[in-house]
């Protein structure tokens, strides 16, 4: 039980570092750490498949992509102009109130049932695969459209090209 709270603390701690680090590269590194704590959460929840996917897709692919981009455009220094202090305060305040508002609207103050693992196999690849390829086959296939579109688009936008003759 205390493991959860420890990891939760780490998650929060690192995520705060993500948004407060001056150097974007540090941000990414903190983000990787945050995501790592998430992976631990998944494992705690016995969602093994997600833990793995999170590890591979997020930490492995997505964040590396971030890092790569950052390097590509050579922004790995503390060059970001900072927002005015008041804006920051307002931002933090806004975020804080948002959290409070969500929390209170969810009536989270009172006690609630603990999360019990009713089916230990729930998060296993086999089980999920069944659900995914039975019930969720259609969305799965349709997601391909999403990825395809993103792929085409990313290529389209990121490539340098010579302008055709001016319109």
């Amino acid at each position: 039980m205390s493991t959860f709270y420890f990891i939760a603390f780490l998650s929060i701690f690192f995520s705060i570092l993500v948004i407060s680090a001056k150097n974007p590269v540090h941000s990414i590194l903190y983000l990787i750490l945050t995501f790592f704590t998430f992976t631990i959460h998944y494992i705690l929840l016995n969602a093994q498949f997600l833990a793995i996917v999170n590890f591979i897709v997020y930490m492995g692919a997505i964040l590396v992509l971030f890092l790569y981009t950052l390097m590509l455009i050579n922004l790995n220094k503390e060059s970001e102009p900072v927002k005015p202090f008041m804006v920051k305060v307002a931002g933090v305040f806004g975020g804080g109130i948002l959290a409070v508002a969500v929390a209170s609207s969810l009536k989270l103050i009172g006690a609630s049932n603990p999360v019990l693992l009713q089916n230990p196999d729930l998060g296993l690849v086999k089980n999920l695969g069944k659900v995914l390829f039975n019930e969720f086959l259609l969305p799965f296939e349709v997601s391909s459209v999403l990825l395809l579109s993103a792929m085409v688009g990313a290529v389209l936008l990121a490539t340098k090209e010579k302008e055709p003759k001016a319109a």
Partner: protein, 637 residues
């Protein structure tokens, strides 16, 4: 005879149409001929009708068609000829014919000759409609119609802006009265459910004296009469109306139209008899008008203005008569006044004609020998109006004064005073014009000439009528039979019954007559001394006058007063409403809403700063608001 009654008004209308359409194509003589002849034929028909009424004693009622109907209420186009309207018919067509005849000569050189006759015919038509109508609405058509003709004829020489103004003033002042009349009609419809005389009067006769509805009706109708018959406070248009050609002044502003108010009240006599308060009011107004107009007339220098104020004063007299219940007397005065005032105006026209258009008496004098017929006939008219027996004016005036005395000696006293003043200013006019030295230019002197026969014949006819006219109403005191009173008895029967005979002893009546006659002679003598003997002439406009004279000369500054309390404020209000309330206020508000929206737009679009951070911040605020609603709103659900 009943079958042809419609011809009486239609003939002049036909004359109007013919003369109007042919004003440029027909020759002047043809136009004059048609115009006059048509009225003459009407006169003939009127005579026939008159005698029929006289012999049978039964009013003629003819119904033509329903003019319009609304709900249960019908407004028939119908004529009623009783004793009252029969006499009026005679006055209108008779005097009308004479004046038409006169106009042929008077207007001969005017380029608007055809137009003039057309208007005159149209006037006769409307006037006939006024008296023929068997209900208030037809009367109102004529009422407004004569107002229109008056407007057209006063403004006949419209290129002169003053004349055009006078015309406008006449129309507007008449309209003020007309509003009263109109509201009176509505009240009558409301109270009696009809506008037919034949239905209203019997119903009214059963009502209590002094009943509220009657009071309102009579006052409203009286306002109408005030406008049309130039009573205080609506009389100022009449003197200005002298801007029109002189025959117009004679016909419209002396003999016929201005007496419409008296006709109307006489017609509705039963309503008034049952409304003593209104009667009292009429008497006071009439008396005040008579006195004030007479005072103004004392110092006027324009020959037509003198006559105009005299007309106002005489009309006041007639109202006094109505007010004290002397319906017959008032109507008698209408009749005689039609004769001598028409005569005087036509005579004045003849003078002006002779003087090549000059109207200022200060520029005249010593015309006695030059234009003899005119002088003689005018003198007859003057004597008649001054109330010197046995001329027409004496009898009618006397009857009114006798009733006034019976009502209240003070009325009588003021009446006699007015009569004295009348005598004075009329003779003043005569002496200034015909006696003394000639004060005009040589040019004018050279052109002095008597008018052509078409003009003098009407003068002579009217002069004869002015002499003899009084004898149809010789009172019993003077051993007469008062034919007129007997003839009109059916009309005023009810009223006379209610009012009762006035009881003055014979000796008292003689004394009253004697007093007024003596005073009239005295005034005449004074005028003679002052103007004929001493040859005194009113001072020129540039010179100072004594205060009282000046007050009279300037008509008690009534025009200025009206200007100050009515016209100026209205004009100011007009500008104020337009510039301040309409443009600044209402429109400003409307435009302000539009402008405000655009200003808001200017401000609101700045919200779109282009900064993503800001956008997201506002979004977050929105989300927080929604969530807060969820927190607090949920408690209610």
């Amino acid at each position: 005879m009943d079958k042809y009654i419609w011809l009486i008004p239609i003939l002049p209308l036909a004359g109007f149409v013919i003369n109007g359409l042919g004003r440029n194509s027909l020759s002047k003589s043809v136009i004059g001929f048609i115009g006059s002849l048509i009225v003459l034929v009407s006169f003939g028909l009127s005579l026939a009708v008159f005698f029929q009424v006289k012999s049978t004693g039964v009013p003629i009622n003819v119904n033509y068609f329903t003019w319009f109907a609304v709900g249960a209420l019908k407004f028939p186009f119908a004529f009623l000829i009783d004793q009252l309207s029969a006499i009026m018919l005679l006055i209108i067509t008779g005097v009308g014919f004479l004046i038409h005849l006169y106009s042929i000569g008077y207007m001969h050189d005017d380029e608007g000759f055809g137009k003039f006759f057309a208007y005159l015919n149209l006037f006769v038509f409307f006037m006939l409609l006024l008296v023929l109508g068997s209900n208030y609405l037809i009367m109102f058509i004529g009422w407004e119609g004569v107002g229109l003709c008056s407007y057209l004829l006063i403004g006949f020489w419209f290129t002169n802006p003053d004349y055009a103004d006078a015309a406008k003033k006449a129309f507007v002042m008449n309209r003020i009265g007309d509003l009263g009349f109109l509201l009176g009609i509505f009240s009558i419809i409301y109270v009696f459910g009809s506008i037919q005389f034949a239905e209203i009067f019997p119903k009214a006769a059963t009502m209590k004296s002094g009943a509220g509805p009657l009071l309102i009706i009579t006052i409203l109708l009286f306002i109408g009469a005030c406008g049309k018959s130039a009573q205080l406070p609506l009389f100022t248009w009449l003197p200005d109306a002298m801007a029109g050609p002189t025959p117009v002044s004679a016909l419209i502003h002396a003999a016929t139209m201005v007496t419409a108010g008296i006709y109307m009240i006489a017609r509705s006599n039963i309503l008034y008899t049952l409304s003593p308060f209104t009667m009292e009011l009429i008497a006071y107004i009439g008396l005040a008008t008579a006195l004030i107009a007479a005072l103004i007339a004392l110092t006027q220098t324009d020959i037509k203005k003198v006559l105009a104020y005299s007309t106002v004063s005489q009309l006041g007299y007639m109202f006094l008569g109505l007010g004290v219940g002397a319906y017959t007397g008032a109507f008698f005065h209408v009749l005689t006044h039609a004769f001598f005032k028409a005569l005087l105006f036509l005579g004045a026209g003849s003078v002006i004609h002779a003087m090549s258009g000059e109207q200022d008496m200060r520029k005249m004098g010593a015309l006695k020998g030059k234009i003899k017929t005119t002088f003689t006939t005018m003198m007859i008219g003057t004597v008649a109006i001054a109330g010197i027996p046995p001329f027409a004016g004496f009898f009618s005036k006397d009857e009114i004064l006798a009733h006034a005395y019976a009502h209240s000696p003070i009325f009588w006293a003021v009446g006699v005073l007015t009569a004295m003043l009348t005598s004075f200013y009329m003779f003043r006019m005569m002496y200034l014009t015909f006696y003394g030295k000639f004060r005009g230019t040589h040019e004018q002197e050279h052109h002095l000439h008597e008018s052509p026969p078409t003009m003098t014949i009407p003068l002579i006819v009217l002069a004869i009528l002015s002499i003899l006219g009084g004898f149809i109403g010789v009172p019993e005191v003077l051993h007469g039979h008062h034919e007129l009173a007997h003839f009109l008895e059916p009309v005023f029967h009810k009223s006379n019954e209610i009012l009762g005979e006035h009881h003055l002893s014979e000796s008292l009546e003689y004394a009253l007559m004697a007093t007024s006659v003596v005073l009239a002679f005295a005034a005449m003598a004074y005028a003679y001394m002052k103007y004929a003997k001493n040859g005194s002439v009113p001072v020129a406009d540039t010179e100072e006058r004594p205060a009282l004279t000046s007050l009279s000369y300037h008509k008690f500054y009534l025009d200025e007063l009206y200007d100050f309390i009515v016209r100026k404020p209205l004009d100011w209000l007009s500008t104020f409403f337009y510039n301040v309330i309409d443009k600044l206020g209402i429109d400003g508000l409307v435009n302000g809403i539009g402008r405000g929206t655009i200003e808001t737009s200017k401000g609101l679009r700045l919200l779109q700063t282009g900064n993503v951070g800001f956008y997201i911040f506002i979004m977050v605020l929105g989300i927080i608001a929604v969530l807060l609603y969820s927190v607090f709103g949920l408690t209610k659900i």
